[in-house]
């Protein structure tokens, strides 16, 4: 999953980035409103964390411009502005959630996961197919009750496919959602991650449609 983090305070941005990367997200950071707006409309983010008080362009205006341009990624506003008027203004402008500073990092993580699930129309944070169970809250994978160790990128591929179960996902799309903006993207490495996942989780979980992409079947 790929996240745009818009925060002008570098220490806080780095703290959030560290936690999100640890949880398997590919994170792009923008520290001003203009750069944030450009990234938001040009990159396919799965979710966005947006500060309000930004240099260059106010976060509220950035959000309005995104929505006017048709950007549909869920947006969580992370702001020190704690009045209900500002919160409702943010939600009315197209935000999906609002978290007030100071905040607890686990709460931010949980809200981001919930937004991603809602966008993917997945009700539960725990995904099950046959004997494979993926708990997105703690990034834990079990096969027949046994814990399986996955690398961060294997986890990112598996998470994206589970969140879009029932839909064919191309290598390009996968690479766009598991690498951050400056990351080295080679679509061949996607095939490598898929092969590793099959070895660890079994051949039947991920279907390959040659030349088009991959798919985890929808729950019955």
């Amino acid at each position: 999953m790929r996240i745009l983090l818009v925060e002008d305070e570098p220490v806080l941005a780095q703290q959030i980035n560290t936690v999100l990367v640890t949880e398997g997200y590919a994170v792009d950071i923008a520290d001003d409103g203009i750069a944030a707006e450009a990234l938001g409309v040009s990159q396919p983010y799965d979710t966005i964390v947006l500060d309000m008080g930004l240099p260059g362009r106010d976060g509220m205006q950035v959000l309005k411009n995104w929505r006017a341009a048709g950007m549909r990624a869920p947006v969580l506003i992370l702001s020190a502005r704690d009045g209900w008027t500002e919160r409702v203004d943010g939600l009315d402008a197209g935000a999906d959630d609002y978290l007030i500073k100071p905040f607890h990092m686990p709460e931010l993580s949980a809200r981001l996961r919930a937004m991603i699930r809602r966008k993917s129309e997945q009700a539960s944070p725990v995904f099950e197919r046959d004997d494979v169970v993926f708990d997105s809250r703690i990034n834990q994978v079990m096969v027949a009750g046994q814990g399986i160790s996955l690398t961060a990128q294997e986890m990112a591929v598996l998470s994206y496919l589970f969140h879009h179960a029932g839909r064919l996902v191309s290598r390009t799309e996968l690479s766009q959602h598991i690498y951050h903006h400056d990351g080295a993207r080679e679509s061949n490495t996607i095939a490598v991650f898929i092969n590793r996942l099959r070895k660890k989780l079994g051949d039947s979980l991920i279907d390959t449609v040659r030349g088009r992409g991959y798919m985890i079947k929808a729950p019955e």
Binding site: E9, V11, L12, Q15, I16, V19, G53, A80, R81, D82, G83, W84, T85, R87, V88, L91, D92, I100, K101, P102, F103, H104, M105, P106
Partner: protein, 448 residues
């Protein structure tokens, strides 16, 4: 007395009363004096008439005096006009109008002023004039005429009555005029009061050019004061917001570091607790600052449907995500005497509280009553026991630490409402069974 209108009206009436009374007394005196002078002139003419008759016939034939006077009014019995002539021998001759009565006898040879006011033959007061007369033969005669003043008194009483009616009319006209004058004179003050009242609910300033030159400087000063007040409040709020932002971001950084250390097993519990207290203290301080400046924030008027609509829409989505039902019933067109952000803060805190505690349903209603609107937010949660309601309203009191929050929402809400002269009432919802939170806000009339 603190009423300008009262002072002006009572002062005007008192001054008018004194003026009118003095005028009435002066005019009455003038009229009385004039009437008496005319009476005396007439009486003097009568005296001259009798004196002439005495001079003509008294020396030779005193009995012929009556014929010589000749005026029929002296012949008619008790006509009110009399004459009486007396010589030094004590012989008395009198008009037929006296019948058998006698006018007071003169005190001959006594150098004293004759009595000129006494009761006449009919018991009515008369005024008399007399003179001593020495005829050619050397005989001394006293000639006296008297006339009843009842007619004069009646005439004066009639005049007084007419004057009294006229002056009463003048008093009524004067009082009505004074009231009208005061009303017109105080109209700029009334307009100033309305304009200042309206200025609380609009962005516009006071136009001192529309006031009389005596009031214009005061209007200018008030406008300057209000503008300065508005600027101070807005600057204070902005500074508070900036300060909040400046503190909260570093606080977020500290919290994340401490949380990371805690996850790594470091003993940072006390530091986290201190940071929690710092956050709560800041929230409380900003809440109070907001409440203290709320009533002075401009424009302090809210289109109720807009604010309620926004909050219901936002909280409706949040309620739906938690499988709760939020229903709302409020009339359109109400304008409330409260800053929109403050009303939304109150509604947000109460709805957020209901969202945390409701089992299935939250209901918001707004009912116009008593010159304002009563807004009620109810839920079907566990509610608050009556003996703990005061505790719940206290700053930072959390009745159940299992629910997220600082416990400051109800306290800040109560402070904000108090700043607008309202109050937060908490009790049990009659039909939903959970907490019922109510408050009443004054309406603002639409500007015409």
């Amino acid at each position: 007395m603190t009423s300008l209108r009262g002072r002006a009206v009572i002062g005007g009436i008192l001054w008018a009363a004194v003026t009118i009374l003095l005028g009435f007394a002066g005019l009455q005196s003038f009229v009385d004096q004039g009437a008496e002078e005319r009476f005396d002139e007439l009486l003097l003419t009568r005296l001259s008439q009798v004196v002439t008759a005495v001079e003509n016939v008294a020396a030779t034939n005193p009995e012929a005096i009556a014929g010589a006077v000749g005026d029929p009014v002296f012949m008619r019995s008790m006509s009110g006009l009399y004459w009486q002539v007396e010589n030094e021998l004590g012989q008395v001759f009198r008009s037929a109008s006296l019948d058998d009565h006698v006018l007071p006898r003169p005190r001959l040879l006594v150098d004293a002023a004759p009595n000129d006011r006494f009761l006449g033959p009919m018991g009515d007061p008369v005024r008399a004039m007399s003179r001593y007369l020495t005829l050619d033969g050397g005989s001394l005669w006293h000639v006296q005429v008297a006339k009843s003043i009842r007619g004069l008194q009646q005439e004066l009483a009639q005049l007084r009555e007419i004057m009294l009616t006229a002056f009463t009319f003048v008093i009524v006209i004067g009082v009505v005029g004074a009231l009208l004058q005061v009303t017109v004179a105080l109209r700029p003050i009334e307009k100033l009061r309305r304009d200042v009242q309206q200025r609380w609910t609009s962005e516009g300033g006071l136009d001192h050019g529309k006031y009389p030159e005596e009031v214009a400087p005061l209007v200018y000063d008030i406008d300057t004061l209000l503008t300065r007040n508005r600027e101070i409040v807005q600057q204070s709020r902005k500074q508070a917001a900036d300060l909040g932002h400046a503190i909260k971001t570093p606080a977020a950084i500290m919290r994340n570091e401490l949380d990371a250390l805690a996850r790594a097993g470091q003993p940072v519990g006390e530091a986290i607790a201190a940071l929690d207290r710092l956050d709560a203290q800041l929230k409380r301080a900003f809440g109070r600052m907001r409440a203290q400046t709320g009533i002075a924030a401009l424009p302090a008027v809210t289109e109720m449907d807009r604010s309620l609509g926004r909050m219901v829409c936002a909280f409706g989505d949040m309620a739906a995500q938690r499988n709760l039902t939020l229903t709302a019933d409020y009339p359109p067109g109400q304008r409330l005497r409260m800053d929109p952000t403050d009303l939304e803060e109150v509604l947000g805190n109460l709805l957020d509280n209901a969202l945390k505690w409701a089992s299935t349903a939250i209901r918001l209603t707004a009912i116009p009553q008593a010159g304002g609107v009563t807004i009620t937010i109810e839920d079907d949660g566990p509610g608050i026991p009556p003996d703990q309601i005061a505790l719940a309203m206290g700053s930072g009191q959390r009745l159940d630490i299992a629910k997220p929050g600082t416990g400051l929402g109800l306290s800040i809400t109560a402070d904000l409402l108090q700043a607008y002269g309202s109050a937060l009432l908490l009790d049990q919802s009659a039909d939903l069974g959970g907490l019922r939170a109510r408050f009443h806000l004054q309406s603002v009339q639409a500007q015409g």
